[in-house]
Structure formats: C-alpha cells, structure tokens
Amino acid sequence: MIRFIWPFVIFVVLAGFLYVGLHLNPREVPSPLIGKPAPAFNLAQLHDPTKQFSSQEMKGQVWLLNVWASWCVSCRVEHPVLMALSRQNIVPIYGLDYKDKREAGMAWLQEGGNPYVLSASDTDGRIGIDYGVYGVPETYVIDKEGVIRYKQIGPVTQQSLHEKILPLVAELKAK
C-alpha cells in the first residue's frame, strides 16, 4: 500500500504547482524602475504642440502617468475606469500618447472622452523606452519627489484601482 503513496504525493505536488502557474501572468514583468526617479522628459503637448510638457513641472504632486495610444485596443477597456477616476478629482492623470499620430490621438480622445489633464506626444516612442514601456496601456504612480512608486502593466481595472492605486495615492499624498 505504502508503495502507491509516493507517486500520489508527487502527483499532487506537481498538480499544485501547475494549478498556481495557470493563474500567473507571464506578461507581468517586474519593473526595475519602481523606487527610482521617473525619467525626466520634455515633450510637445498633444492638443497644442507649440507648448511643452515637462515631467519636472509635476514635482510636489502625486500624479498618474498613463501611457496610451489610439491604436491600442486594451486602452479602450481601461478608458471608462480612467474617465470615472478623472471625474472624482482624486489624482491628476497625465497621458503619454505613445507612438501615435497626433490627429488620430486627438480624434480618439474626442470620441471617447478625455480623462487627462493633458497628454504629451511621444511620437517616436523614445520616452516610452526610457520608462521601460513594452505594452500599452501602462500606468505609473509618481510621488511628490518624482519617484515611481507603482507600475500597472495592462489596463487599469476597478480592482487594481481600488486595491492598489488609490490606497497608494492616499498614502503618498499624506506624506
């Protein structure tokens, strides 16, 4: 009888590992930028390219940087969540229009609504590389000192908003 117990135990352990593996997301790569200063940038604003937006302007504020594009399908999933968040005035959301045509980006915001205080155009994706962007959408929580505190890979959901982002924002604002 005891002979059959060991294969069974091994099977259960292996099945356990595989079961946990089923629920892991291989796309979620831990960012080395967490806890590091957000890379500084100075880009033309989407709606008014004569004006610049510099990340330095945001010193002293807790803010969200949301990387989006008009061609990005998952951005449409998170869009209602961002719209609702922007109406609550808890934290300013700034957009980084990643590898997008200006007209297409503006048309998409007009059609779906604009949750951003403003968006900056990263036409050639250079700033995206600085931020380690590899899939749009991505959202960064940046604190008053300009340090990246959290990175959401993929769409912001109600769950990630209420479990991670908003509690973190409240904590950072209180500092």
Binding site: P26, R27, V29, P30, P32, G125, I129, D130, Y134
Partner: protein, 153 residues
C-alpha cells in the same frame, strides 16, 4: 544618339540600386555587432523571441536605439546595462546569479545531490537486508569438490 541611349540603359541598374535597405546596410560591421548583442536579449513583446529576430515595433525601436548607442561609442556592457535599467533582468536570456535566481541556477544540482543521497541510502539499506551466508566446514569442502572435479579423476 543610339549609343548614348544604350549607355544610359546600361547604367540604369546602378541608379536603381541606390537607396535599398539603407537602414540595415549602412554599416555592416555595426549591424553585425548589433545583431550579436540583440541575440542575447529578449523581446519583451513576444517574450520567447530574441530582440534580433523579432519583427515587433518595440524590437525595431530598441534595435535602432542599440545602433545609435553603438555609434555614440558605448560598449556592449554599457548598452546592456542601459536596457536592464529600464526593462529589468528579464531582457537578458542569460539571467545573472542573484539571491532570487539561486534556486534557478543551483536548484538542479541540489536535486541531483538529493537524488544521489537517496540512492546511497537505499543501496545501504538493501545491503543490510541481504543475510550473510554462513558456511560450515562441510559446506566449504563440498563447494571445493564441486569446483575442482578433476581432483577425483
């Protein structure tokens, strides 16, 4: 006139050749170095493809970035450090030995040791189970007789 035309036609392929795949062939040595480096880097979009072979947008951009940094005179190690600082160790196909990769690097050897220890224990246990045969003088003599039958003849 005819000869001039003929000459012009002969020269046409020369003009047609200019400007093809300029981006790639601009500096074959640099390109080779870039590909050599990119083969050991992971494309983050398609994960199991290298940066050298991927056709994704991001891989294109990153290859361009690597080319430009090489032109600036940065060493391979500096470029790798630059990419790791943005995308993490995950971009490396060859993960560095760190506290959290110890299991990855040495786990198989640990398993091998556990297996060997188990094997040795098992063999020892089996050895003690086999009873030592005790031969009486008579048995020894019988065995000797059987082994040397020629003595009797």
């Amino acid at each position: 006139m005819k000869k001039a035309l003929l000459l012009l036609f002969c020269l046409l392929p020369v003009f047609a050749y200019a400007g093809v795949a300029k981006d790639l062939a601009e500096d074959p040595v640099l390109e080779k170095r870039m590909i050599g480096l990119a083969e050991n880097l992971r494309c983050l979009v398609c994960q199991n493809e290298s940066l050298a072979s991927s056709r994704s947008e991001l891989a294109n951009d990153l290859r361009q970035e690597v080319r430009e940094q090489m032109l600036k005179g940065m060493s391979d190690q500096e470029i790798i450090d630059y990419l790791v600082s943005r995308y993490g160790d995950y971009v490396l196909f060859d993960p560095p030995v760190k506290s959290y990769t110890l299991l990855l690097w040495y786990g198989p050897f640990a398993l091998l040791l556990v297996g060997l220890a188990g094997l040795i224990l098992q063999l020892r246990k089996r050895k003690s189970k086999i009873p030592e045969a005790h031969l009486s003088n008579e048995d020894v003599k019988r065995a000797a007789d059987l082994l040397n039958p020629s003595k009797d003849l």
